[in-house]
Subunit: 219 residues, 2 copies
DNA sequence: CGCTAAGTGGACCACGTTGATCCGCTTAGT
DNA sequence: ACTAAGCGGATCAACGTGGTCCACTTAGCG
């Protein structure tokens, strides 16, 4: 029903639109998706009304900001599937994700959110899921990854690391890598490792992520 | 300067005071120290004014609620120093803390806070610090704990686990133990472990904890 | 009892934040 | 030079928060 009027924007309007997106990138990077339209308008040096006119809902703005970045990340994961060993691939993905989350808090919110979100992001999750499963399977089969870890653990681990990154990296840049390494060493197969118990089901993971991250829909 | 009037409370006042403390326990357990006086008053079934009269500041209320619990926890850590092995002691402390944090979010806030807080809690930290150092030293010396981990890592690890507990345990009770186990396996000395880099300094840890947890002082 | 200091409740105030709209003015571009 | 498109930001409503105040109630002493 939303008649998408595709007439090209006036030159000045297009200019402002770009400024808004760039501003939103910075705002979301610092404050996460909790950043407000006010923040964005200020950062862009543009009126609040202008932001609302260009992006009627936050979803639309978030989508515009992160569409490309998400696609890039899928590329990273795909590339990791062709790493020399499965373990290398897993480390690649976790490190890259950690580094990205450390510098862009909004990206973390977008990547880890499971509930309602823009159409285009659902596609991202759909593409991601089989890739992560392959990644985990490969590393497990080759014997480097402990057998009782599943793909459902990855989002939780990422959430943890990005938590460290969020609070720790401003104090000591890169400190999140310390705790990522600790986790990686815990993920490696080892004779001394303790039992982990029943892994999380998809449904449970979704519920947890849902309570962990800020909701994009509200009103 | 605060003339502490020690006249005993009237019977009904004392009763309400107890009700308030019990209510605050529940409120803080669920919502962390971010719980408000309004919340507490409602939960206690008592007027807002009554809460304010009995506890002029949040600090006083928090202190009344957690003084005993903190002392108990110090006891746990002391006991852990006499565990069969240093590793067992470390596991005891981390598991116990994780379990407590999982059921009381306010306790987590209190334990992990480093900045301004009630006098009596500063004493807690002071007693705690040497104990944790001993605990880590012992486990490291006996060769079970990897050499590049320090006592400053423990609060960060606890913060991580309690993060999982906060969001995960309501969905799957006890799920935090899964990720604690993963971390523990990462903490064990192992030939395949990767380098951790420079450990956190006390000052850095304090700064991180400060940004991580809700401030108790504000206004 | 009866009296009064102590205690009580919750309406109320001040304030900050957030989402969202509206409309008088400006300007791009034909 | 004219008009549709665009602009800004004051403004509104809703909400949550910390905190005070004061008319009413009651414990418990003499």
């Amino acid at each position: 029903m939303t008649s998408t009027d595709d007439r090209p924007l006036r030159r000045d309007a297009q200019l402002n639109r770009d400024r808004i997106i760039r501003a939103a990138q910075e705002v979301f990077a610092q404050r996460g998706l909790a950043g407000t339209f006010h923040n964005v308008a200020d950062q862009a040096g543009v009126g609040l009304g202008t932001v609302y006119r260009r992006f009627a809902t936050k979803e639309l703005l978030v989508e515009a900001v992160y569409e490309q970045r998400l696609a890039d990340f899928v590329g990273t994961v795909e590339a990791a599937l062709h790493a020399p060993t499965g373990w290398d691939g897993l480390v690649d993905v976790l490190s890259t994700a950690a580094r990205l989350h450390a510098t862009d808090r909004g990206l973390r919110d977008v990547v880890l959110t499971r509930g309602h979100r823009p159409r285009s992001f659902a596609a991202f999750t759909d593409r991601m899921e089989p890739l992560l499963n392959q990644l985990v399977d490969r590393a497990r089969t080759e014997g480097s990854l402990r057998a009782d870890v599943t793909a459902e653990d990855l989002p939780i681990l990422l959430a943890l690391i990005s938590e460290v990154a969020m609070h720790g990296d401003p104090v000591r840049p890169g400190i999140h890598a310390r705790y990522l390494q600790l986790l990686l060493d815990g993920l490696r197969r080892s004779p001394t490792a303790g039992a982990l118990g029943e892994p999380l089901a998809r449904r449970e993971l979704d519920a947890i992520a849902d309570s962990w991250l800020p909701r994009l829909d509200h009103t």
